[in-house]
Point group: C2
Chain length 250, copies 2
DNA sequence: GTCAATACTTTGTCCTGACAAAGTCTTGAG
DNA sequence: CTCAAGACTTTGTCAGGACAAAGTATTGAC
């Protein structure tokens, strides 16, 4: 019961590759785990043996294992060993763009731009973007459809010096893709999810009954240096939409 | 312009302490940053110099810096250096227990147990907890107050072999604390947030008008080995509550 | 003055070696 | 048989050195 791992062909590393060794090892291990060649709960070889067998140093092996531990695939216990974690427990989507995509992906989504203009930031927008009130921002109003039905009414504000948006761009690409192409990489976002009843106008736009429950989501996205890139205030039909999150405890 | 960091007193390490050196260094750096002694955007000393000045090896220094990079306080760029990130961009709450606490903390929260019984899992609960239908689970119904007003109506299901809950325990400690004390450490949770209108009964319990918008949140928490620890189905008054999230892009 | 080649700085990767700490298993006393 | 002491296994921490790769700044040719 010393080791449960004896792969058919030995894991090998390619020293001439520009891919870091630790990453090669990690990828290899990940494949073995995902293919089920190392059963869930099984212990993998200890660091020292594994390093020797692969012909790399222990720190390199360690780093590879660490990488998978951080991704939630492995668990280490001192004096015990390293075990494969149950797939259910695997790792959180960290969020990237919009949750819509999860659902909408299967429902032929599309988006129409209702409005696009340059306006002076009001108090709410200015506070969210950390700008002086009255700063010019691009204001976008979009209606997102999925499966032929309206799904969400989306409002965005973007500082003009961050990005100049044209309707044509928006029709083609998502807002986040446009940001990235302009060299603005969103690093973190703060998001607030709430709910309220639809007004008559909102209900009409979203094809809901007046007073229907809507999910509200406001978000501000920031780049590396703490610069606000985008503020969004969105309304989702609660009857058609929900947010799904995976959270990991430190 | 080689270094912008010249702390008043040199950072020191205590080699007799059981606290790992890298962690001591990381903590020290974090303090300096949080106190603002290293301005936002400023570069910190390079690894080699820092290591020498502290009398530790470069790998140790590196690990300390890496730790802060992972927590979002620092950004590294090869050939450039390591910079302090804007505080706005700081760290994602990883989730631990309930978001309530953020808001409720200031509003003298308390919780009353409405019901606590052992029942057979129905299809929904069984599916969520990955158990056979009919398995006995503890079913808990609680009403959470903040500022003297009802805030949330909470339902939880817990497999009996995970935890035996008594009303007295629940009155004293949170559900998550009880789980932890029983040796069950929640590792990740999958959560779905939605909205709907209150039924007459729900409205009465939560002191809302009938048809008022409610936030719904269902969650299943899992431990290391993929074992489901808890299923929760909660209703929040949208007029009093919202979920705040910080998300980080990979 | 402009632009490309070069030197320099700083982080990234990798190695060998050593000891410490936390579990687990074995052994032996009672 | 029970239980504690000790041996063993495995991960955790740390050192010191070497070279590679990616930016930045400088220098020099034109």
């Amino acid at each position: 019961m010393t080791s449960d791992l004896t792969p058919a062909r030995p894991v090998e590393v390619d020293r001439s590759s520009p891919v870091p060794l630790y990453y090669q090892v990690a990828t290899r291990l990940q494949e073995l785990i995902e293919k089920g060649e190392i059963g869930v709960g099984a212990r993998i070889e200890n660091e020292v043996d594994l390093a020797e067998r692969l012909g790399v140093s222990r720190p390199t092996t360690r780093r590879a294992i660490q990488y998978l531990v951080e991704r939630g695939m492995l668990v280490r216990k001192r004096g015990v060993g390293t075990q494969v974690v149950h797939p259910k427990v695997r790792r959180p989507v960290e969020l990237s763009s919009l949750y819509d995509d999860l659902i909408a992906g299967a429902k032929e989504p599309h988006t129409t731009v209702l409005d696009l203009k340059v306006v002076a930031a009001d108090a709410t927008v200015a506070a969210a973007l950390n700008l002086p009130i009255g700063t010019e921002v691009t204001w976008i109003e979009r209606l997102r459809f999925a499966g032929g039905e309206p799904l969400a009414l989306m409002h965005n504000a973007i500082p003009r010096d961050v990005l100049e948006v044209t309707p044509a761009d928006l029709a083609e690409r998502g807002l986040y893709e446009l940001l990235r192409r302009a060299g603005h990489v969103p690093r973190i976002a703060t998001q607030v999810i709430g709910a309220r009843s639809a007004t008559a106008t909102e209900a009409r736009t979203l094809e809901e009954k007046r007073g229907a429950s809507l999910l509200t989501m406001t978000r501000t996205a920031w780049d590396d240096r703490g610069r606000a890139l985008e503020y969004g205030s969105h309304l989702y039909r609660a009857s058609r939409y929900s947010f799904e999150l995976n959270l990991s405890a430190g």
